[in-house]
Symmetry: C2
Subunit: 598 residues, 2 copies
């Protein structure tokens, strides 16, 4: 039998220590660094496991010297040599292999490397599209290698935990019926059935519910999901979620399972201790206290409702808003060593608030003994003690106000201020702060289309006390919904599901799906519910985002091996791309280019 001809590694570049002194070894890897001192060559050889220093001595054979001279960065080579101790002065305690080096006896070039578009080095930050085009080089950086390992470890630990809890991982189909609602479906034209299409799933939602009807009891899946959304921030066309569903459960069963899951996984993967139970906030309280439904609890800075004091003040703007049923909320920015509360800085806070609808940001500086100055301080004459106490404000702090007719906009604007203060004043603790947001509204009114729609999705259970008033007062119905929030990101969303045909149809109707359309689109789910569907519920943490947060990154691109760029393009393989005429013909398709392009 013919074998490929190269000297195969006997060990990796991350394993040699003093104990191996004198051993003959073969290493395979890449030239990470390459330095000459006259005829003496130092090569840092790298593989996934580490770096080992290889030395070509100055008395090496001509042949060996010649090969060493030929080497460049990122050449892939095989080195045969003998392990020896480094001179004391050369010992590198920061490296596992830092006490030894390999005296090369033979070097084989397995594969050369063209001039690099960027250096393989974590200090180096080439622009994103270059990194994506040459992803095979970018993946060689220690950062990407560590993050791919973290992702593997995280997902494997989730699987281990769920398997230990009697869950089956079951693969659901990814070529399914198109049932668009929410985002657009990606479609896959059928060749065998002209004019018909499969769709890629936005999530395995309906299939996991059907698995529950099928008696599978506890299901999970690391599922690829697809949404044809416009390029926006950190979205990917395809993303991965840990999809799970359980039968015969109530809300708190799902919540405890997730707490146990992440407790176990964070301990195993990062040796990090999470609290046994996560904090729970109602949607209402989350907005009132943090201004948003995904609060970053790594810092405090709560929002306060100051309607009462505002009405007592002499500030007409506040008084008017309160008297018209509006809201005045305030936050207390603590005295900072690094940021002074200059006009310019306050303007930058105001700009943040305005994005979310605030007309302006009112402010007061707090001095010694609750004396107020600047901004709207004069309107609070006589109310200093009351306000300072309410806001727990101390000397050097600043109180910031947003007043708005609309509760959500008031909250959101001040939340933006809170977020900016957290960052700017360096208040963010290095920790993982999970919390649950519960008791969400079930419906939202879609102003554009003039009807109610599901805030989460149409399969979530209304809380029992609202069952009689679904149609008469959709706006106040609360759902058995829950979001898991981590460090200011929504990382999972779930609910107890409807398992009753009639209730499901009521929800469809409220969301403007008549019975016929509902049967046409979701008939297979309604049908399933007719055959003894069990109560069930579930949740689906986003894997990309979870790993991103665990890796302390700010983009999911950093934890996906081959992401698309923000325009939905892969600069490496150049997809999407044009295809052969024959392929289109087979699929019974004609392209209709937009007017301007024809």
């Amino acid at each position: 039998m013919a074998e490929e001809v190269f000297s195969q590694r006997t060990t990796t570049c991350g394993s040699l220590t003093k104990a191996d002194n004198g051993a003959t070894v073969v290493l395979n890897g890449w030239v990470h660094r390459d330095r000459n001192h006259g005829a003496l060559h130092f090569i840092n050889l790298r593989d996934r496991y580490g770096i080992t220093q290889v030395v070509v001595d100055d008395d090496a054979s001509k042949e060996l010297q010649a090969v060493a001279n030929e080497l460049h960065l990122e050449y892939c080579i095989a080195v045969t040599g003998v392990v020896r101790l480094r001179p004391d002065s050369m010992v590198n305690p920061a490296m596992v292999t830092g006490e030894v080096e390999v005296k090369a006896e033979k070097i084989e070039i397995l594969s050369k490397c063209a001039p690099l578009p960027f250096q393989i080095d974590d200090g180096n930050e080439p622009r994103e599209d270059l990194r994506l085009k040459y992803r095979y080089l970018d993946l060689r950086t220690q950062g990407m290698q560590k993050r791919m390992k973290l992702r593997h470890d995280f997902i494997f630990a989730c699987r281990k935990f769920l398997t230990s809890r009697d869950f089956y991982e079951i693969e659901t189909p990814t070529m399914i019926k198109s049932t668009p609602e929410g985002a657009r479906d990606f479609l896959v034209p059928s060749r065998l059935y002209p004019g018909k299409f499969y769709a890629l799933p936005q999530s395995p939602q309906l299939f996991k519910q059907i698995l529950m009807v099928g008696g599978m009891d506890k299901y999970f899946q690391i599922a690829r999901c697809y949404r044809d959304e416009d390029a926006r921030g950190d979205r990917q066309l395809e993303f991965t979620q840990l999809d799970l569903e359980m039968s015969f459960v109530k809300r708190d069963d799902v919540l405890s399972l997730m707490e146990d899951l992440f407790g176990s996984v964070f301990k195993e993967v990062m040796d990090y201790d999470l609290p046994a139970r996560f904090r729970r906030l109602s949607y209402q309280d989350a907005l009132n206290t943090y201004g948003c439904d995904k609060p970053d609890l790594r810092f405090d800075l709560p929002l306060s409702d100051v309607n009462e004091i505002a009405q007592k003040s002499s500030f007409a703007t506040f008084k008017d808003i309160v008297s018209q049923g509006g809201y005045v909320k305030a936050i207390c920015a603590p005295k900072s060593e690094t940021v002074d509360f200059s006009r310019k800085y306050i303007t930058s806070l105001e700009d943040a608030a305005k994005i979310y609808g605030a007309q302006g940001l009112a402010w007061i500086k707090v001095g010694e003994n609750a004396t107020f100055s600047g901004g709207v301080s004069k309107f609070f004459a006589g109310l200093e003690d009351e306000l300072a106490t309410k806001m727990d404000a101390k000397e050097g702090d600043m109180i910031l106000f947003v007043a708005h007719q609309d509760w959500k906009q008031c909250c959101a604007s001040l939340s933006a201020v809170r977020t900016k203060l957290g960052k700017d004043l360096n208040l963010i603790r290095k920790s993982f702060e999970f919390c649950w947001i519960v008791d969400f509204p079930l419906f939202e009114y879609n102003e554009d289309e003039g009807h109610w729609e599901a805030a989460h999705h149409m399969f979530s259970m209304p809380q029992a006390e609202y069952l009689d008033s679904l149609e008469s007062d959709p706006g106040s119905v609360k759902g058995d919904l829950y979001d898991l929030v981590l460090n200011g990101y929504e990382v999972a969303s779930g609910s107890i599901r409807i398992h009753d045909v009639e209730l499901q149809k009521r929800i469809f109707r409220i969301c403007n799906f008549d019975d016929e359309t509902a049967e046409e689109r979701f008939g297979f789910l309604l049908n399933a519910f007719r055959y003894g569907a069990p109560p069930h519920g579930g949740i689906a943490p986003g894997v990309d985002r979870m790993v991103m947060i665990m890796a302390e990154q700010s983009s999911i691109h950093e934890v996906i091996a081959f992401p698309k760029n923000t325009a939905g393009i892969s600069p490496m393989d150049d997809s999407p791309s044009v295809v052969d005429e024959k392929q289109l013909e087979d699929l019974h398709l004609i392209i209709k280019y937009p007017e301007s392009k024809t």
Copy 2:
């Protein structure tokens, strides 16, 4: 907080034993059986974990009796009651819970069930499309539940093993560039880029090779793959493979890894001992000995080359074929208790042979002391001892011959006879017989298109001794290819890959891809090879097929939760289906229906 109102299980239907006598429990599950004896009700309550007998005593309250009377098969219910021992005469030792029953105190109907399209019972075999349409009912059968568990166990055990061997599971994209070769790609139209398409991957082949160039060293993935093939036998549009790739390996490294993997997995999942190393057969030997490259080794019946004896015979047909360079091969069917070698039976064997190109099937019956009778026996007068010895034929056996000008057709025809004999004569041992087939030809000649093409795929390494004769004699080039065969099925296919740009381009050219087309389609792989690509190789076992064989099934539909039918349709959700005009418009597509339909 509003909770769903139902009594939640305190234990499952598979766990109560004598030790629980007297305990008050709640069970949730489905009515599996329901029998009345007057006012006495016996309900077999089923969940994923088992079945427990629930009894409504004849002195139960009117309310309870009324609910019990309302029950039908597959109603989903909650039962609150007290565990008690069954009378001795009613103990069922075949059930885990067979010593006890639950005296019902309360029954809640969680969900009713419409009249069943078929009974949820493994003895019952509804037709396939009915099973697929009501898959949620079919999934409740013990058979489907066990197979979903087996699939979970198998895949999880693979992951555990590979993780213990330092593999990272890395997700590769499923919306990629279309690079059709072999099967057709499924396409996904881009909304943002009119006229452009993503493709669903036929396998992660190129991306896993790029991960090796990216230094990931050892990769695996339970990967969804897609092929737009015509409905044929047991194919699915989407299927799952255990995709893996390793750097710095030679063929035998991949083979041993797989042997270790399956050894570990079969032991863990089925408590089955595989041999430490699997048998290896060259492609040539496999065809010569078993007539095909995926031999079922659960029975012996080797083929013999009998050219020499055939030429000494007086049978003109055989002599002509041999003298013209053709082949005569024979197989010895052993005497059978159950099958007599009647004319009719021999004709059925001949029919099997003819499918693969045989003109006919010659035969000889072997009597006492190697006396021959019937068929072509007279032509072998004087050669009885030689032939009987060669074929190891004993009294009552039958020798069957195929003669053909073409070696492959000769082998294939007699292989079909071998397979039929194996089944009919009950020769198949209940076991798992793995073997490797190695040394495959690298190229096959495509008569239709008039050029050579890759027998496996274009990324496989030619064996070193053929490197100089690739272009001059493609037909005799052997590749560093390997197939893993289990019980007559090809369950995995792999190779050592090319990692050199120039060699890769030579292969492309031989396969009729000029340099320009090759760069256009596979430029990103060629580019990657320019930056220090390591030697690498891999393999990809088919998960559906593996689990099917482990579950002793003959269709992969039995081990997939939601398969499409053989026409590529899902009878449950009715995909593929027509979509909204708006969706097509968004995707810049017009349907061109075939002539006959417009």
